[in-house]
Assembly symmetry: C2
């Protein structure tokens, strides 16, 4: 098999990886996202990076395909993009098709949480499993459910909004209009907000995780409270779907057991013993490589489907 | 197609229906369950009813197969029964195989919530849908998820324990050991308990529903509170799975909008507008016929798979 390119298209950066036939990232590029740029400009900037990566490949091995994880929903029929809050310049444009035409290569596109989940499922913490739920903690909290090897998309392609599962019906107001959503406890901004409320110091959620690792007691309390909320949601998902592997991704997951310990305790408290005894809650094994490897996997699969 | 027999095997009664090639119940039988009876006795009693129903079929149309919904988990490999709390006499026996041998007919067996969900999905409130979540309110609260036409079983066949989704982490203790499970608000015994707490009168959950329909204000309050809890769970399921049809079954569902109105209001409060606007929460359309028709459907499908 020839190499493919996996791309993690984010609101602030674009990370690309050249992935060889053995699913190893053998070369990387990383540029800042110009979030206001229009379709043509984004396409040209990505094309330049794809070509630069292509130049690093072994001779006589053509790039087969390109896969991309995007920070928003993807139209299930066209495979093109829908509303991208963080990338208004290419929101509602036929991004995938335009990039495919420019590169003259097959381009596969999916929602970033799903793409990262594919990376963890095929190469990381879910490698031995048939089913897995990936929960990513970032600006929001999203989920991707893989059941018997296949992603669940839902009826309108919008499955995975588990960040808005109700963890406490009397909890704090969420920006979505509801109350006590998981996201009000466990997103990056929620961690920052809870930390600021306790210390009057404003730092990012990822920084809260770093300080917790360095021993900051307040940061640890904030992470523990996020973990408890996460565990309640995991318990409800495990009871409903009987899926036994959960993988937590996103920068905050680097806090490891400071987040996952309280999550496991809460899972145990809010589910059957027979369930909590079998459910594994793991930190992402692939970190920032998960979306690149997942996108590469997607690119290869689409290529195979087409062949 | 020849007729099949669908059986709803419950803790207190066994209901059987002869189902013709056009999926109509053309003859019925109903006997009390002897819950302490052993395997041989249960098999013989069911066989007698199957034979009685068989005698009512049109001449020259042999019964093709038998399908059964059972009140507990079914072993996914053997298709036989696992622990049946309400039927200790046949718990952990090779019930399906024994009945199949006795009848000399193919016997298909599945968990009752899943079988009733199949009935609603193919013939009732989910007839026009590709995906559906059935929630049955009885002694407990169970769910069955049909996604793109197929039941979700989970990794150990125990998906659907949505009665133990956490609706309020500070809610009342549940018999499962957790707190604030949906079941503590919405099961039959929970309705009875909440009604008794307000009136000092002990009646069944189904009777609470009847009194609510007759205008009893306390009964209506109890149902509304159950509906609110149900709506929170529905909201979390809809956000996670993006399934848009929910069907509520079990005797209490006969209260209709007295239960489902508050559930819909709560769904609206605890999910995205775009989600609640599309999700339909319907009462079971088939009522007590759902498990019989679902079991008949299962019998026919197994027969086809074997052919």
């Amino acid at each position: 098999m020839s190499p493919v390119i996996g791309i993690d298209l984010g609101g602030s950066k674009i990370a690309l990886g050249l992935v060889d036939a053995r699913d190893r990232i053998v070369a990387r590029r990383r540029i800042d996202t110009d979030s206001e740029a229009g379709l043509k400009s984004v396409i040209e900037r990505i094309a330049a990076e794809v070509e630069a990566l292509g130049a690093t490949r072994p001779a006589r091995q053509a790039i087969e395909a390109v896969g991309i994880g995007a920070p928003g929903p993807v139209d299930p029929v066209s495979g093109d993009l829908l509303t991208l809050v963080n990338l208004p310049g290419i929101s509602n444009t036929p991004f995938r098709r335009a990039l495919q035409e420019r590169l003259a290569l097959p381009v596969a596109l999916d929602h970033d949480a799903k793409v990262a989940a594919l990376g963890e499922f095929h190469f990381g913490a879910g490698r031995e499993r048939e089913s897995m739920i990936y929960i990513v903690i970032g600006t929001g909290v999203g989920a991707a459910i893989i059941y018997q090897g296949r992603l669940i998309y839902g009826e309108r392609n919008s499955a995975g909004e588990s960040g808005h599962m109700t963890v406490d019906p009397n909890g704090p107001r969420c920006h979505c209009g509801s109350r006590g959503c998981l996201e009000t406890y466990a997103s990056g901004p929620a961690l920052a907000r809870h930390y600021a409320a306790a210390t009057c110091e404003t730092i990012s959620g990822a920084e809260v995780a770093k300080r917790a690792l360095a021993g900051d007691g307040t940061a640890r309390d904030v992470l523990a409270s996020a973990g408890r909320a996460l565990g309640i949601a995991i318990a409800s998902l495990a009871m409903t779907l009987n899926i036994e592997q959960f993988v937590i991704g996103g920068g905050v997951a680097q806090a490891g057991d400071l987040l996952l310990g309280p999550a496991r305790a809460s899972l145990k408290r809010y589910s059957f013993k027979a369930v909590s005894a079998r459910v594994r809650v793991s930190a992402s094994a692939m970190g920032q490589d998960a979306p690149i490897l997942g996108a590469a996997w997607l690119a290869r699969r689409k290529r195979i489907e087409r062949a």
